[in-house]
């Protein structure tokens, strides 16, 4: 079963993402509303996650800081940034920080699943 971590300060957005991710088959979803909470969830998940979807603008710890902190210890777990930050400079910054893919809000469920599948396919390859 795929284990997924969704990090977004909007519960509505996390619910939308969860519903879309059901297209992947059986999934187990963990959630966090900011980077600080995400690090706590990650520390408490010894088996890790199949991938994580991370928002950029969040209180307490934003997504780009969270990505950098994750990558200090974990170079392998696929990280997908799901955000309204759409400028090319932001995308480049996120890739340099260590994200594997980027999906810009607003997105359709199909667009989001497409990015997830592409990300996981690269991991396998």
């Amino acid at each position: 079963m795929m284990k997924i971590l969704l990090v977004d300060d909007s519960r509505t957005m996390r619910n939308i993402q969860k519903r879309a991710l059901e297209a992947l088959g059986p999934i187990e979803v963990s959630e966090a509303s900011d980077g600080v909470e995400a690090l706590t969830v990650i520390a408490g998940a010894p088996d890790g996650f199949s991938f994580m979807m991370i928002d950029w603008n969040m209180p307490n710890m934003d997504g780009i800081t969270l990505v950098r902190k994750i990558r200090e210890k974990d170079k392998a777990t696929p990280l997908i940034m799901a955000t309204t930050e759409a400028e090319k400079t932001r995308v480049i910054e996120a890739i340099k920080a260590g994200v594997n893919n980027y999906v810009i809000k607003p997105f359709t469920p199909e667009e989001m699943i497409g990015k997830v599948k592409a990300t996981l396919a690269k991991k396998v390859a």
């Binding site: 909007s10 969040m58 309204t84 809000k105």
Partner: protein, 172 residues
Amino acid sequence: MSSIATAPAAKAQIDPKLIVPAMNSVKAVFETMVKVAVQIERPTIKATPGVSYDVSGIIGLSGDLTGSIVLSFPTASATKLVSAFAGCELDPKSPEFPDAVGELANMIAGGAKKAFGFRANISTPNVVIGAGHKIARLSDVPCVVIPCKTAMGDFAVEINIKQIGVAADANR
């Protein structure tokens, strides 16, 4: 629907490069995430200090642009539109309701910010619910109201933005 008091654009000017991106972003967000077509009406300049309606999602801007973008709904429209966005019925008294309003405002501001072409940051959203609330605005630039119509009800986007820096190459 209560009328929105607006003034003819005698002294203040509506800057298309700050308004057109917002109009496009509104359509993209509502058509993609709420799955409702939006008819954008002619933007006008706001004459009164209050917001247009009872429910406001507020995004602040900083950097080379400063000011705010406000997504404003009558309660009835908000209930239908955010419920459609969330994929379930949302009660305006529930904590999920302002969360959904804020996320819609966040996406509209984010999409507009990219198209503005300036280096700017957007705040996390604030949501105010209650008839007659007022929002402090920049007094030296006009507040432009973009009226929007959908099959689920009307709403408005209010833009009060001032350019400080020069247009950046954030998209190159």
